[in-house]
């Protein structure tokens, strides 16, 4: 058996070349230092990527310039069918994430779970200058279940913490990153049909002013699209707030799309009930059409103090990349693929 120095698979350390997988088998028990050390299974050797510095091959993105800048990275699960690639992504997951993925009975859903976690981890790793291994991120959930990064205490990036949010549909998984501002993102297919009637859904969940604006649209297809736009914006807001659906029921705030200051949010009279004091209006929205097939809404906290009544808030700086982690990234914002609606 070849001896090699004890390689502690310490999560904070950069990866060294993977040790040769010679396993000494005696009496049916497999002896190997790494198994004994950490109880972690030895990862399969990743084909196509030499050595272990997997994550260093992630190209660095341009840094986030300001709290108003949002970077979105998305991938299309339908286009990722290479099993070895999927196995590579699966190795990035933590044991609990892998367990969660395994609990999914449908293979499509399992693939989605693996891809969304891999996308999140690789994206976060990029924004820390690739200094942190995607595998070593740990997450915590706030008391309403919104996940956040659990930064190690000695890390300098904790001073300017990255905030993230993920959204998935069957055909697209998007991850939005912002610096120093809470972020919410929601993606929805443009051609999505609802089983219930649009206006009845709106009456049940939206505010009266939104119902009125929807009712004015005569074309049912246009009405459905408008509904979806409002839905994604509201969902992005709720996710950004991080208090769950019941923390900000859709009927307590209105979104106005066509104002002179871009998309605005306002609380309704419902929200003056006790319990909804945390609903704030200082949030910036942006709505875009992705690949002419999806609506994407992003909502970030507006921490600028210099907002007078005449100042219109500077628009959210949105940059979008389509990515296949470790394989290729394409900047799509500024092209036909990303059409800003508001």
């Amino acid at each position: 058996m070849r001896h090699h120095h004890l390689l502690l698979r310490c999560r904070a350390m950069p990866l060294l070349p993977l040790p040769p997988r010679t396993l000494r088998v005696s009496g049916g028990l497999v002896h190997h230092r790494l198994i004994r050390c950490h109880g972690m299974p030895i990862p399969r050797r990743t084909p196509g990527v030499s050595g272990g510095r997997l994550f260093a091959s992630l190209p660095l993105p341009p840094p986030l310039q300001s709290p108003r800048e949002v970077h979105v990275w998305y991938l299309c699960p339908d286009e990722l069918n290479n099993q070895s690639q999927l196995n590579m992504y699966e190795e990035l997951l933590s044991p609990s994430e892998r367990e969660y993925a395994d609990s999914m009975k449908a293979t499509m859903l399992r693939k989605d779970v693996v891809l969304s976690r891999a996308l999140l981890r690789t994206t976060l790793s990029r924004y820390t200058g690739c200094k942190i291994d995607p595998r070593s991120f740990e997450f915590k959930k706030n008391k309403f279940g919104k996940p956040e990064v659990l930064w190690p205490l000695d890390d300098s990036t904790a001073e300017q913490p990255l905030h993230f949010n993920i959204s998935h549909t069957t055909s697209l998984i998007a991850c939005g990153i912002a610096i120093n501002a809470h972020i919410g993102i929601d993606v929805e297919e443009k051609k999505r049909n609802t089983t219930k009637n649009i206006l009845s859904l709106a009456r049940r969940y939206f505010t009266p002013s939104e119902v009125d604006s929807l009712a004015e649209i005569s074309d049912s297809d246009a009405q459905r699209k408008e509904f979806l736009k409002l839905w994604t914006l509201k969902e992005a807001y709720v996710k950004a707030l991080g208090m769950g659906f019941s923390g900000a029921p859709f009927s307590t705030f209105s979104i106005m799309l066509e104002t002179s200051k871009g998309i605005r949010i306002s609380k309704t009279s419902n929200a003056s009930r006790p319990g909804y004091d945390h609903l704030s209006e200082n949030w910036l929205f942006t709505l875009a059409e992705l690949n002419s097939s999806h609506y994407m809404s992003v909502c970030i906290e507006d921490s600028s103090r210099s907002q007078g009544p005449e100042d219109s808030p500077a628009p959210v700086g949105l940059k979008v990349w389509k990515t296949v982690p470790f394989v290729e990234d394409t900047l799509v914002s500024g092209t036909e693929a990303v059409k800003l609606i508001a």
Binding site: S103, K105, L109, H168, T195
Partner: protein, 195 residues
Amino acid sequence: QPRRSIRPMPRPRAKPGPRYKTAPLTSFDAHPTLLLLLSVLPPRPPPPPPTHPHRAGLSPLSRLPHGLRRRFRRLLRQRPVKTINANSVSFSAPRKDNVSFRLQPVPQRFSVRCAAKKETVEKVCDIVKSQLALADDTVVSGSSTFADLGADSLDTVEIVMGLEEAFGISVEESSAQTIATVEDAANLIDSLVAN
């Protein structure tokens, strides 16, 4: 010899609070049944009220409330009291006649929801299947979570709306948020329908 007081003992009325105190077992020549009784009693109740001066007697037994003391005395009279080495106690399982009062099982501190009605669960499964347009052979049961079935937020609110229409109820957002499985939904529906 238990100490007898000169004044007649006032008979205490049944008062709320601890009905008995758990006596220390260390210095105790006890009937095996007594040891068993004391070992299965619920956890120590809150601190007792100050003891009556003439109750602080020699034997721990005399510190117990009057009614319980009587019962124990009756028990003790039935069998001769043997000195037991507390370190090695072995006793046979108490027979029904040993114990003069039934021990109730300790009530659970958390409430366990009763299973939802079968018809409710089935109806919820049907609504979920039709909303998510699942194949006929997909198994949807009480323990299926909405996430497992691939429902996103818009699906979930449509399902909730469908359930409201089917059962004639109104679901608050705060209750809707607690629903994770089909069984949860059925439970919520049952409780709303019952009210």
